[in-house]
Subunit: 178 residues, 2 copies
Amino acid sequence: MSPPEASRPARLILSRLDTPIGEALVVTDEDGVLRAFDFADYEDRMRRLMRRHYGEQPIAEGEVPAELVHVFGRYFAGDLDALDALEMRTNGTLFQRRVWAALRTIPAGQTLSYKQLAERIGSPKAVRAVGLANGANPVALVAPCHRVIGANGGLTGYGGGLHRKRWLLVHEGAHFAS
Amino acid sequence: MSPPEASRPARLILSRLDTPIGEALVVTDEDGVLRAFDFADYEDRMRRLMRRHYGEQPIAEGEVPAELVHVFGRYFAGDLDALDALEMRTNGTLFQRRVWAALRTIPAGQTLSYKQLAERIGSPKAVRAVGLANGANPVALVAPCHRVIGANGGLTGYGGGLHRKRWLLVHEGAHFAS
DNA sequence: CGCGGCATGGATCTCGACGACGACGCCTGC
DNA sequence: GCAGGCGTCGTCGTCGAGATCCATGCCGCG
């Protein structure tokens, strides 16, 4: 159901990618597989997450792998499903990995409420916990936590700033309140 | 009685010094005051100690301050009291600092047993604890933990290796068994 | 003697318990 | 509607208790 815990990477490489909504941080491992995606104005939180998941290991600066440049470029250019097949590796608790896996079952253009997401992973009452896990998602966009909104259709919150959540949902043609 | 806990240093500088008993590690703070002295073959332990006392702070490489080169040189050349006036700063628990301060009251050429040292700091039964604190001494030579030996005159143990303890005691003209 | 066993005390590590905290949702009372 | 209160549940930080580890010393036994 949820993917297995990812092994401790031999190396972590941090690179930076320009997007229409600001500079993004891309962390990959020695196989070039994505370990984190976040926005540059939240670099502190991203580093804290990496430390939590992988220990004190230093993070080297590098280039964004060509395949990732290509795939994110397509997504922002309007090919909304471009990220669906992209491999990602995450650590985290069983519950978190369940939530993050469930996120990828929401197609672009659609949204889900925190409640519906909680039901989908079999813990119908763990609504706020789902919110917490959403906030701890290391791989924004690829695990599309921006597609989860309040039961009343409002945007509630987003780790990258509400303006980005709004932009992404508009970009994907989803419906939401105000 | 025991010196106050040293403040967190602004900077730590690690330098290396040749001695008749092998390369030594010298750690100084931004004032050039000694924070650690150990032998190069135990660099791991030294770094662990620094981390414990001063946190994750990185340690820069640098040159041994001229005064220290001079003073250690004199000690190894036979001026056995050359280190007596040297300033040092240590962190650690109250008990540890009491032990380390008491070490400096043992003159070169003399020895004390762990028991006598325990009595000297007012905890006559904390004999093994004194041994532990001795092993956690960050400032070898300057806090002369090598002058503490077993009640039967044997050398027991030394963080820098027994051969160094033996060499130092011979160098200082102290008496000990076998 | 030499050896084994045991008391002794501080530091460190590990665990489990506990409390606080949310990117919510629902119900109530105006 | 809308503001406020509360149930709910996984995380994380903190704290404290208990076990373990030792650079010992002493006693008792062969």
